[in-house]
């Protein structure tokens, strides 16, 4: 059952990701990217990480995809991809892929098989986040607030 689900979700996610990279229309590419995000969330659900899956949908589909779509809206409508091949993009993509692959292959989780983890409840996540890791959380909050204020300063009208 879970093998069938894994295969289905994999095919869907990969197809959507490929479409996002290859489709000539920018808007359709962005929407396929949203589908790929949903596919990744489905993987988290399959692995039993409910909370992470929900946050994935919340942040990536609800916020990041909308942000990308808005950014496309602000570009010229007849903008087309250039005819020549962009080597810099390819190099960056290969570098990121190699880095991620190296990190995944060298992680302990792969060699030792599935570890024994208890049921991960939202309550447990809340406790860990607000008791053990409260300082990193506050720092993230501070950075986000700074970003928010920065965005406001950028768009604010100049008073004379």
């Amino acid at each position: 059952m879970s093998a069938v689900a894994f295969l289905t979700i994999s095919i869907m996610t990969l197809a959507a990701a490929l479409a996002a990279a290859l489709l000539p229309q920018l808007m359709r590419a962005a929407l396929s990217l949203a589908v790929a995000f949903v596919g990744i969330a489905a993987f988290y659900f399959l692995l039993g990480a409910e909370f992470v899956g929900l946050v994935q949908v919340f942040v990536y589909v609800g916020a990041v995809a909308v942000l990308i779509v808005f950014t496309i809206l602000l570009t010229r409508r007849d903008a087309r991809s250039p005819d020549y091949f962009r080597w810099t993009g390819a190099i960056v993509a290969v570098a990121i892929f190699a880095g991620l692959a190296w990190a995944i292959l060298s992680s302990a989780g792969l060699s030792g098989g599935p570890g024994k983890i208890g049921p991960l409840t939202v309550q447990r996540i809340g406790e860990v986040l607000l008791i053990d890791y409260v300082w990193p959380l506050q720092c993230v909050g501070l950075v986000l607030t700074a970003a928010l204020i920065g965005a406001l300063v950028l768009v604010m009208e100049e008073r004379r």
Partner: protein, 395 residues
């Protein structure tokens, strides 16, 4: 006897699943889910048909005229006539539209509106999708609606559609913030994101007549009102229906839709209303609990739908009473009033909790909310005198 009537739907489901005992686990799960989905769709599609005619009747009553009264007794078969009309209408797709995106937009909006109905507890042991992070699930799925609205606006290739979609997304993103922050005090006080736990935390009565619903606490009452207003905006209902704004931009993101696709948008709007009201009932109005102890013999699901119906009536009532607001007014209201008040509710709930959840905490949290409310209304008062209006461009 009382227990039997209360659990009749749960028992029926178990009885229907009984022939499948011994089947593999996933078949059982699939059958159980399909039964729940069928029941949900049947109930809410009926409610949708009923509300669409009742809304027109109530609006008629408010505006001192008859509502629909031609089809069937009291015009009750009006939804059937409307449905047939919508089905046999021609489906027009603009020739320059992005066909796939144009086609998918109403499906996505309707699907997300239906999925979120799953997490709401409709009665004792009657949650179709009981997951640990139910509230988070509601908002996560709900936030994808924005993408659907955007697809409708972009795919139509029409300036009115695009303007409507931009307006819709702007107000939905702005009001999602107070909507989520007003659920935060409830989550804090109950320590759970699961709707079942939240409903269970609101059981019990003081003196047998005052239910322990969160709306009876000052922070709960304030958060409930803020949540309801945000819900009104999220479902794009009057007075916050600027995305449709038929006097300015035809029908917003729905301009280029006709026939059954338009009906799908319409249905999604109502389902969104049901979902937000259902969540409001779950979070603040005690879910399926009876309002006073002696009325507990009435089945739980009846109480849920009575409360839901009351909230839906307020939706219609507001629509019949208030004129449409302006875009800038909506935005100012969200960021300058709703957001600070929502944060005040969080702090006030914390005070209530640390004062021992008694009468003293009740008074302290009321005091905090009153102070912030008065300060905000003083600060945000533009002190503009009302006088004869001067027009800049029209004479």
């Amino acid at each position: 006897m009382i227990d039997f009537v209360d659990q009749i739907f749960v028992r029926t489901k178990h009885r229907m699943l009984a022939p499948l005992t011994g089947a593999p686990d996933w078949i059982m799960q699939l059958a159980s889910s399909l039964l729940s989905i069928a029941a949900l769709l049947a109930v809410f599609l009926t409610l949708f048909a009923l509300l669409s005619v009742l809304e027109r009747k109530i609006l008629g009553r408010i505006q001192n005229r008859y509502g629909p009264n031609r089809v069937g007794p009291f015009g009750l078969f009006q939804p059937v006539a409307d449905g047939i009309k919508m089905l046999i209408k021609e489906d027009i797709v603009p020739s320059r539209a992005d066909k796939i995106v144009h086609f998918l937009a109403p499906i996505i909006i309707a699907a997300t509106a239906i999925i979120v109905l799953g997490i709401i507890p409709y009665g004792r042991n009657m949650t179709p999708l009981a997951i640990d992070g139910g509230i988070l699930f509601f908002f996560a799925i709900g936030s994808t609606t924005e993408l659907g609205v955007f697809m409708a606006g972009w795919g139509s290739n029409n300036k009115f559609s695009m303007l409507g979609a931009m307006r819709a997304i702007a107000q939905m993103i702005s009001y999602e913030l107070p909507l989520i922050i007003t659920t935060l005090p409830v989550v804090m006080v109950t320590g759970a994101l699961s709707p079942d736990t939240i409903v269970a935390a609101q059981s019990g009565y003081s003196f047998g007549i005052v239910p322990h619903w969160f709306v009876t606490t000052p922070w709960g009452a304030a958060a409930f009102i803020l949540f309801f207003v945000s819900g009104l905006v999220e479902s794009n209902r009057t007075p916050f229906d600027v995305p449709e704004g038929e006097s300015e931009i035809v029908a917003g993101h729905m301009t280029e839709y006709s026939g059954f696709k338009y009906a799908t948008f319409f249905m999604a709007e109502y389902f969104g209303m049901f979902a937000i009201s259902g969540l409001a009932v779950t979070l603040f109005l005690g879910g399926w609990h009876a309002p006073i102890a002696v009325l507990q013999f009435i089945p739980s699901y009846i109480w849920f739908f009575v409360k839901l119906g009351a909230l839906l009536f307020v939706y219609v009532w507001v629509r019949g009473t208030l004129p449409r607001t302006r875009v800038d007014q909506i935005m100012n209201f969200a960021w300058k009033f709703m957001l600070p008040m929502a944060f005040t509710c969080v702090i006030s709930a914390a005070i209530w909790h640390y004062q021992g959840r008694g009468f003293a905490g009740w008074l302290w949290s009321l005091a905090l909310i009153a102070i912030v409310y008065l300060a905000l209304s003083w600060l945000l008062d533009t002190r503009r005198k009302l006088g004869p209006r001067t027009y800049r461009f029209a004479e």
